[in-house]
Symmetry: C2
Subunit: 378 residues, 2 copies
């Protein structure tokens, strides 16, 4: 049976990228290695849509979030945290560890934080030093209006820190135009690589703050990465096979074009939503993003058992809800090296297990709606 991965990270990796990983290992302090990192950095700037350099850290995405908070704040700094799910809570964990004074702006799972909520929080906390948000709240499927957040934060002295780990490269994210001060992503989502690298862009406004902030870490000190990247190098031994493989995947992104890529993800997300509706299912997120489709498990259906059956019988691996959302939602990723025909198969498999589980629907309703949506987009 073919195994098909639809989890929102890791995501499928192109075959030629995987083959790059199988090549003999090389030394990382050479002119050739610098040229590769230089190319990767340029391509990342394109994906981030930023003129600023992008730093490459050997860590998971959380390492990048940690670096951002550790370098851009001091204990007691007021931090406005916009939370709509588990990944906002991840920011909270980082903030707590670093002693920030957290102002929580929180909405229930499935809802999105609005620009109005941020506006009120900024007015009530004019001394806030940082504002933290999540581009794609992958635990719920919500996408945030980072452009609007950026407009509001840019009027203040605060910095906007965005966890774009599972959104960047799948949905529109214009780091500079949207005035994101520190933008963090990871390799294992839309960038079509296995996990292991985090990428961080830093605005001039943020560097001013970071350069004036006392050092309180070492391996994740962004200043060290900035100094090294000026020579297309890294301060510590990087996961260099991953960097070489990232180059291959980034070339695919450049060849497609970032706006075409956003449009492709939007098309898949739209078709998924049409399919879900035709199957009588509901989206969980009120402001769904285009990287994944999160479906509310219908009444009388065992959500976790359905996913297990789908994997066992058909080889399709969706993600369950996390923590207290387990069994309540299904998360179907369509990020990165996944196209509409892959997702069509996923809808087919979901239909089959639902029908087998006694769920009442017309066989083919989801697949037909998906196809109709695709046809409309020709």
């Amino acid at each position: 049976m073919k195994a098909r991965l639809f989890t929102p990270g890791p995501t499928p990796v192109p075959e030629e990228t995987l083959l790059e990983l199988a090549k003999p290992v090389t030394y990382h302090r050479t002119a050739e290695a610098k040229a590769i990192l230089g190319e990767v950095t340029e391509d990342l700037k394109y994906v981030f849509q930023t003129k600023n350099t992008v730093l490459t850290l050997t860590s998971s995405g959380t390492g990048g979030m940690d670096a951002a908070v550790a370098c851009a704040s001091v204990p007691g700094d007021k931090a406005i945290l916009l939370t709509a799910g588990r990944w906002g809570e991840r920011w909270r964990g980082v903030l707590k560890a670093y002693g920030a004074n957290v102002i929580n702006v929180e909405v229930p799972y499935g809802k999105a934080v609005t620009p109005q909520m941020l506006d009120i929080a900024l007015r009530a906390n004019p001394d806030a030093k940082i504002v933290l948000s999540t581009l794609s709240e992958t635990s719920t499927g919500v996408g945030h209006d980072i452009a609007a957040f950026g407009e509001l934060v840019a009027k203040t002295d605060a910095l906007l820190l965005v966890d774009a780990i599972s959104g960047l490269g799948a949905m529109e994210c214009r780091t500079d135009d949207w005035k994101i001060d520190i933008c963090v992503t990871g390799s294992q989502k839309a960038l079509m690589l296995p996990p292991g690298l985090a990428f961080v862009s830093v605005s001039e406004k943020a560097w001013k703050v970071i350069d004036a902030t006392p050092v309180r870490n070492f391996y994740l000190d962004l200043r060290r990465y900035k100094k090294s990247i000026a020579e297309s190098d890294t301060p510590f031994t990087p996961a260099n096979t991953l960097i070489k493989a990232q180059r291959v995947s980034l070339k695919k992104i450049r060849a497609e074009g970032i706006e075409n890529l956003w449009a492709r993800h939007a098309k898949m997300a739209t078709a998924c939503r049409a399919a879900i509706a035709a199957m009588g299912l509901e989206l969980f997120a009120e402001r769904p993003n285009n990287g994944l489709t999160v479906i509310t498990v219908p009444a009388n259906i065992d959500g976790s058992a359905t996913l297990k059956m789908m994997e066992k019988k058909y080889g399709f691996k969706f993600a369950d809800g996390q923590d207290n959302m387990k069994g309540k939602i299904w998360r179907l990723s369509h990020m990165g090296y996944t196209d509409a025909f892959d997702v069509l198969g996923a809808i087919s498999a979901l239909e089959l297990v639902l029908i087998e589980s006694g769920y009442k629907m017309t066989p083919g309703a989801g697949v037909a709606a998906f196809q109709t949506s695709l046809a409309k987009a020709i």
Copy 2:
């Protein structure tokens, strides 16, 4: 031309490990993934020679060193730092970032710190909280007598933190018997994997300190890894393809047996030393370790140009000296997936470029001495 890697990290990776990296990416929160990490952890315990668990961090080795200092000390803590080169200086950088009160016990490059020096330092600083050393000081080729250091530190309340990044798995290192409290290594040396993972073992004595130390980091907080590893899991998305590939390389180590592996490295190191002497060259390290051979560049030879020629003409990649040692030493690694016949080729290539550079020696003297040493060890 065949490319042959003799740098002291990254080192060559077995073909079947590389092929593992080319397999389709899988989700990391599954029973299968836990079973794999469980196996890797057990095999790491064997390599570390410890009964304690071993934590897997997605970072370079420096990330593991950072985690050790951040979690086991507070600002102002007295730290006795045994430095014999660049990697001791790496410890110093970490200690400074975390505000330790560093007591430097330092020897010139090429020399080893002696147990007597540590003994004096411990007596003079009975309030020291941590002692830091380097198993293999790869910048100079020196190996330290960690067993003796461990005996001394164990008599005190201080913890012994050892950077075993480029030694563990190549030279004898018995974490428990030698009373190492925090032992750090990386994937890209003797463990036969590309860079990207750090492994950290922690003694009970160290956990007591860590558990009583205020939190001051997040991504590199060892407490989080301890909690997760109890369920064979990781707190953050791990570089799971590297973990799967590490399993393959660790199985090779188990199949060989750790003491056989130490003996093999010793045999290669001994043969290298014989070859060097026969060529009229000198070892740079006074207490050479078995992971690499560091050779003093002879007078009237351009060290860096020699390495460039060797790479260009014969495809052999040695490492140059770092920073102010550049051009003064040659570093020939024989760690991990490197056998005596590989190293014989390296000696041959070194002979050829030296002869071409006008160095006076009998052609074949090095190779013959290497072979004679091997024959003696049959």
